[in-house]
Amino acid sequence: MRRLALLVIVATTMLLSGCWDYLELETLSFAMGAGIDAGPDDSLVLSVETLKVEGGQPTQMTPYVTKAPGLTMFNALRNLTNLTGKQMFFGHSHAVVFSEEYAKRGVGNAVGFMQRDVGIRTNTWLFVVRGASAEDVLKADAPLGTSVGHYLDRVMQVQHRNPTSIPIQIWEFNRALSEEGLRPVLPAIELVEIDDSKVPMVEGCAVFKQDKLAGWLDAKDARILSYLRSREVTGVIVTELEFKGEVKRVAAEVTWSKVKLEPKWENEEVRLDIQFNLGVDLHEIGFADFDYSQPDLKRILEEGLARQLKEDTEHLMHTLQKELESDVLGLGNLVKKKMPSHWRKLQRDWEREFSKVPVTVKVAVLMTETGTLAKPLKGRL
């Protein structure tokens, strides 16, 4: 009897006092993406792309963008709730875009907020838009799919097939911020006009110093940087080859790869050895009489691809060391892990040291498959 009484008391307390976190799904407005623009006096403007959901068959979903100013991101978010009358739900949002100006002021506060709040996925992709406002990106036309947020998510998922940038999620950015000897980068977005519609294209990288935007990398450099950071080469390598006085293009897809970044301590200074080992499948070849089944011709092909990768890597290293002076490669982190005693001395002025590090690039390419053709198609007269 006493037990029953206790049960009744507990049950009624719980039921009468209500269900605090209870929410109705239909009262939420699903955010698909967010954009942050710089406002006056260190404030910001938050734009959120949401879906207008209507029942019926099939379900009608139309994306629309609302925006509200705020002193901080959280403040702006709550202001937005007042504006729409619906709780903004970020559980299914996949993309957050910073404007160039806002990124220059520093994104640390906003990213920290997103990491801290359990309602926001830490695997949300982050972007910096170049030459337009974040709001414009959200209002742009997504080529496929319903919303820009969803479109950007899809683009990031397939990045490894043809890297033009480095996909970065909130937690990765935070990790780069907190680790020693590693500068954060974020993928860059440009609005490109295709047939009257403006499409957000992900190309290149924004390079950060601390949490502030410091410079840009173009798509070509960003591609190599993504190889070095993920220790993996993916996508297609295109190169020009000279054969019998003709110059034609060759394209090959990388099937397996191994990238080694090895810091070495020689003559009282750090050197960096970069070693690529990759296997490729030949996909396209411009020459009609290039018989790649012969070992020396095959070697010419492999060396051509290797040279391309080597040149691109050296170009990237030049940009990083001489123009940006920014260790987005994580070399400092590597030095700390592999040579902690030297790092203690180097860490004080690492960025300057970094720009002086001699770099050696070695590339070894092995071609294993050539599709269904044993020899190129012959263009006989």
Binding site: E26, L51, T59, M61, H92
Partner: protein, 511 residues
């Protein structure tokens, strides 16, 4: 049998106020029966006749109308006796010896001197013969009960397996078991229960396999029953089960003799009750909810898949409403994006909050089930049409209920029917989980799950832990739970139940 039982339990099974003995004259007997015992009972037939010349003596046959084969009595009792001439000096013990051993050409004549015993026999459908001058009654086995023929039980139909089911007669039911286990070690102990109904109850087990402690415990608990009537084995179940206050099933019940035989062979004890086609088996473990006799008749792999499906169904049926509610109202972040959006769209114009929807729709379904369960099949079909079309389709069309909710209710219901013996408990668990999920989301659901499992863990059925198959690390205990291993692997009987004789087969039984 009675002295034996009295010795066993140290207690009289049935007590009479004062032991009355059969009188020696027919007149007195008739007087006594008609005016004090069977007063106002018109079903009792008093058929008096005379033995043959030269010294006719009065005889009286007493039997209940309709329960006795009266043609048999005329042919084999009245006819030979009326042609028999009894010597005038034949009285008392000599007379009874003569009658039972020589005069009556029927088997199974027993002599009774206690009147109460005679009455008892008459009420079960046998005839009592009184002969003038003999202070005893002769019980003539002439029962003729019209019985339902053993048919396939509707509640436990199988695709493959025997089609026989228990009937209402205890003797027939015991033979159904005996026919399957022709071993002298199969024991049936009878006892009588119910002050008014005098219902016969049989405790069946195999000596040498069943644990004597469990058999004794069963008998002790049954003997402790003191009730006026037993109309079905359900009475006994409720009076002897462990955890009487909670709806957890700790005693199994079945209408199938093959199931009872299988359980007895594992070392369990069965209790059969006269007048009830439902046999009880004990101890009952949690896994038995999920076992079906057909699992053992099919290929073991297919039987195992069925088992796993039943386990899944149990989970789905108890948890789906709670999980739906928790995900929808507390963790929409866990629902895949497109699903979340389409549920949100479906709920746009539904006026009720999800909690109300879950509870009302759950209740509505149970109402439909309860409404239809005792209806004849044709009307039952009409009911399901009304339920499906009116409540399901129309409610969604009118946007009173959201379509996902209908799907949840349907999945819950269908999965529930896969585990019929757990159904009642599942309704309660479902409501309990849903309530906690409504207040605290998945955290509440997990807490409910822990509470339910901890509680189940503490239950014992006749001393055997209810969940022993899940907690044990011994492979012998687990092999017949989530899967059904082949017979030759199941060499041992369940531990703690059939420990006395653990080996089912010798080694090397594998074909």
């Amino acid at each position: 049998m009675r002295p034996l039982l009295q010795r066993l339990f140290g207690k009289k099974v049935r007590t009479t106020a004062e032991p009355a003995y059969v009188a020696s004259t027919i007149k007195e007997v008739t007087e006594h029966l008609q005016s004090s015992i069977f007063v106002g009972d018109d079903t009792i037939v008093y058929r008096s006749f005379m033995t043959g010349d030269p010294h006719p003596r009065e005889c009286l046959l007493v039997y209940p109308e309709g329960m006795t084969d009266s043609a048999f009595l005329s042919e084999y009792v009245v006819k030979p006796l009326s042609q028999l001439s009894l010597a005038p000096g034949l009285w008392g013990a000599k007379l009874s010896e003569f009658l039972s051993e020589q005069a009556l050409p029927v088997s199974g004549v027993e002599e009774r001197t206690l009147l109460a015993e005679v009455v008892d026999e008459v009420l079960t459908g046998d005839a009592a013969l009184f002969v003038d001058g003999c202070a005893a009654a002769f019980i003539i086995r002439s029962k003729k009960l019209t019985l339902r023929p053993p048919s396939e039980p509707q509640s436990e139909s199988v695709v493959r397996g025997p089609r026989e089911g228990f009937g209402e007669s205890l003797t027939v039911n015991t033979t159904l078991i005996r026919r399957r286990i022709r071993s002298p070690k199969l024991k049936f102990n009878f006892l009588q229960l119910g002050q008014q109904t005098h219902t016969k109850v049989a405790v069946a087990y195999i000596e040498g396999i069943a644990s004597p402690a469990i058999v004794d415990e069963v008998k002790r608990r049954i003997a402790a029953i003191d009730i006026d009537g037993i109309l079905d084995s359900g009475y006994i179940e409720e009076l002897i089960k462990d955890e009487p206050l909670l709806p957890v099933k700790t005693i199994g019940h079945t209408e199938r003799p093959d199931v009872v035989a299988a359980r007895i062979l594992e070392g369990r004890v069965a209790v059969l009750v006269d007048g009830s086609p439902v046999a009880l088996t004990m101890p009952f473990l949690f896994t038995e909810h999920l076992q079906a006799n057909e699992d053992y008749y099919k290929h073991f792999a297919i039987g195992s898949v069925d088992r796993l499906i039943r386990y899944t169904c149990m989970f789905i049926s108890t948890s789906t409403p709670a999980l739906y509610l928790a995900l929808l109202a507390y963790h929409p972040i866990l629902i895949p994006t497109h699903l979340a959006i389409s549920i949100s769209a479906a709920r746009q114009s539904v006026p009720f909050p999800a909690v109300i929807e879950v509870f009302v729709m759950g209740l509505l379904f149970e109402i439909m089930r309860e409404g239809g369960v005792r209806l004849p099949t044709p009307i039952g079909q009409a009911l399901s049409i009304v339920g499906a079309i009116v409540l399901g389709d129309a409610a969604v069309q009118a946007q009173i209920v959201s379509a996902p909710m209908i799907i949840v209710v349907a999945i819950t219901a269908i999965s529930g029917f896969a585990v019929p013996s757990f159904y009642g408990v599942m309704i309660l668990l479902r409501a309990f989980f849903a309530l906690l999920a409504a207040v605290l989301g998945l955290y509440g659901y997990f807490c409910g799950l822990i509470a339910a499992t901890v509680y189940l863990m503490s239950v014992r059925s006749f001393g055997v832990p209810y969940m022993v198959n899940f907690t044990s690390f011994d492979p012998q205990n687990i092999k017949d739970t989530a899967i059904r291993v082949p017979w030759w692997v199941m060499r041992r009987r369940p531990q703690l139940i059939g420990r006395l004789n653990p080996e089912r087969y010798r080694k090397g039984a594998r074909p």
